[in-house]
């Protein structure tokens, strides 16, 4: 991995922010595997800016990951709709050979394990379910014509599109996974009522929520945004892998599902039921089981050599176990 692109940010940032600016600090941080993230402090005539620069790093987890340019446009639309999200500063087509996005750096905690476990976030966890429902209701209300062309479902029910995409992704792995097939088979037989097609954040879960002691600070990581059923997005944070060890709290290890779902329904006028949420929770586990196996594939193919990605492949069996446990409950 070439890391020296962080040494040469003055020029591009000066152009982007209508300079003159001076980069005081530029530091790569551990984070998402498909992008490099760099913490940047820049001095401008108007004062200091705390920024994040996200730059393409090669691999993707799912076949339908957005380009950084699309992600930037989605973030822009979200920010304009007053959704809690980092302020986007601009898109760079060529930052040392790869595209990049510059955005504000939010202050707080987003590491899943800390968000669900740390005592100082106890009050935050109490109010978070309703705050999340509110943000999601705003995301799902963004007019589609304000967005770039996005992957996802064009016709209802969106579940049909999701199922065929998951099938294709599973086939691409070129190895048999009967447990995941069984999940897909159940999903095909239980397609729920459609609630329309809206902008889905696509990775709305603990780990992508920046919080502080007062509550939600911002929703991060918009790279999996797509068009889909609102219930798909609503159920994704229920997936057990995103409870970070606090398994009995079904909403991402932070709370119960009821207040979250009720608040969302009240704000949107939709009538999404627990059964529909359960359906999309099963779909979410299928998606993450395939996603985990794909991570190992990235390592094995040489696209991105990493012991971390290699081990995630083996942890797909945790997701398969959860999937089969849900199917037991659902049969």
């Amino acid at each position: 991995m070439s890391e020296n692109w962080t040494e040469d940010l003055d020029g591009p940032l000066t152009t982007l922010l209508d300079g003159p600016i001076e980069v005081e600090r530029a530091e790569l941080i551990p984070g998402g595997a498909s992008k490099d993230t760099c913490v940047v402090d820049a001095v401008t005539p108007e004062g200091e800016l705390e920024l994040l620069v996200r730059r393409a790093a090669g691999g993707v987890i799912y076949s339908e990951t957005l380009s950084l340019e699309q992600e930037y446009k989605v973030l822009q639309a979200a920010y304009e709709a007053e959704i809690k999200a980092p302020k986007p500063y601009g898109y760079l087509e060529d930052l040392a050979g790869r595209e990049a996005v510059v955005m504000a750096r939010l202050k707080g905690e987003s590491v899943g394990r800390r968000v669900v476990q740390k005592p100082e976030f106890e009050t935050t966890r109490e109010i978070l379910p309703e705050q999340l429902a509110e943000e999601l209701s705003k995301i799902h209300a963004i007019p589609l014509e304000q967005l770039p062309s996005l992957p996802g479902a064009r016709t209802e029910p969106a579940a049909d599109y999701v199922l065929s995409t998951l099938e294709q992704e599973l086939d691409t792995l070129e190895e048999p996974h009967p447990a995941i097939e069984l999940g897909l088979s159940w999903l095909r037989g239980h397609v729920p009522a459609s609630h329309g097609i809206v902008l889905n954040h696509g990775d709305f879960r603990v780990g992508n929520f920046m919080v502080d002691e007062e509550g939600l600070v911002g929703i991060l990581d918009w790279e999996f945004a797509h068009l889909g059923d609102p219930a798909e997005d609503l159920a994704w944070p229920l997936v057990r892998a995103w409870r970070f060890g606090v398994d009995h709290l079904r909403l991402g290890g932070i709370g119960e599902v009821e207040p979250y779902l009720e608040h969302y329904n009240t704000l949107t006028g939709r009538r999404i039921t627990f059964e529909e949420l359960f359906y999309w929770e099963v779909a979410g586990n299928v998606r993450w089981a395939i996603g985990s196996l794909n991570q190992a594939k990235r390592h094995l193919s040489g696209q991105e050599r990493s012991v971390e990605l290699a081990v995630i492949g083996r942890l797909a069996s945790e997701v398969e176990y959860e999937l089969l446990s849900l199917l037991e409950r659902g049969s």
Partner: protein
């Protein structure tokens, strides 16, 4: 036959080295995290070396039962692996085409629980 130590004992030696001599000298959180992941990978390897064959034989028996296939056990580990993949392929294809043999869910759950014995043994304790 190779001399001692066994493959598992070699993996264990590397894991101990990482834990006792490398980890205490690392400051960078990212490298520390990855070292722990590497240690975890080695412990998966240790468990697999010990349990693979037995677990594969049980998986084969369940698959053969579900699919109504011959239960004769292949003689070599290599052939056993191939046979299990083959039957998993048959079962996966059958489910894709809407034919789910009676008892599939229950047996797959046993097989996945067995995979967890190697990949993540603590995980099962999180279910009651």
């Amino acid at each position: 036959m190779q001399d001692q130590p066994s493959a598992g004992e070699l993996a264990e030696a590397v894991r101990g080295f990482l834990e006792e001599e490398i980890l205490p000298n690392l400051d960078d959180p990212r490298t520390r995290f990855r070292t722990r992941v590497a240690m975890n990978a080695l412990s998966i390897l240790e468990r697999e070396l010990e349990q693979e064959e037995g677990l594969l034989r049980e998986e084969l028996a369940r698959l053969a039962d579900l699919l109504g296939k011959d239960t004769a056990t292949p003689e070599t580990l290599e052939k056993l692996r191939e046979r299990v993949i083959e039957l998993n392929r048959d079962l996966a294809r059958s489910i894709r085409h809407g034919e789910v043999p009676e008892g599939t869910l229950e047996r797959l759950k046993q097989t996945v629980a067995d995979k967890l014995k190697v990949a993540s043994p603590d995980y099962l304790e999180r279910y009651d």
